[in-house]
């Protein structure tokens, strides 16, 4: 499938303050993909 996306939009880097997982996310409510916590900080 195709998706509206761009090489310039790769998401921002976050770290989950609950489990320490590092991940990339887009959107207004970044959520940890590992533990589903929204207690995250931008790196």
């Amino acid at each position: 499938m195709d998706v509206e996306y761009t090489e310039r939009v790769k998401g921002k880097d976050y770290r989950c303050k609950s489990c320490g997982e590092r991940f990339k996310a887009v959107g207004k409510k970044p959520t940890c993909p590992s533990c589903q916590s929204d207690d995250v900080e931008m790196e």
Partner: protein, 158 residues
Amino acid sequence: MKWSLKDDLLILEGNNSFLLTGRAENSFLLYIETFQDETSQSVQEDDLVVVSCPEGGGIEPAAMLLELVRRYHTPLVVLPKNHPGSSRLKMVVAVSREILTSCSIRRRTHPEQHLLCSSEELTGIHLKGEAGNVIADNIPKGVSIRSLPPFHWQLHYK
């Protein structure tokens, strides 16, 4: 113009192309997979899932794609720029609270996620999800809008 939607769909049809939209209905994490890494997007229930078919085609596959995203949370796989397979993909999907259609962007290459590639006859349409409703503005003349029941799989494999 405002339409109240639950799990049903809204189709905006021009002469040769269409947009199919529905509410996400539930909160979930949508994964976007590229060759380099994985990005997650936190989708909220009033976000919109919009499938654009700039060259027309069947409504059923567009509805299937929409349901694969909103009901089954299927990850989106992004091909690298200029991949030969891109020309075979006739449907484009976007997930966002607000979506603006544009015919002046190259498919898959625009800088903002709320922009969605469309045909010229459907360009400039603004779609917004809000409290169980879909609000559509700037509808070009000649575009018809109607609601459709949600796609239900005809066969149930267990």
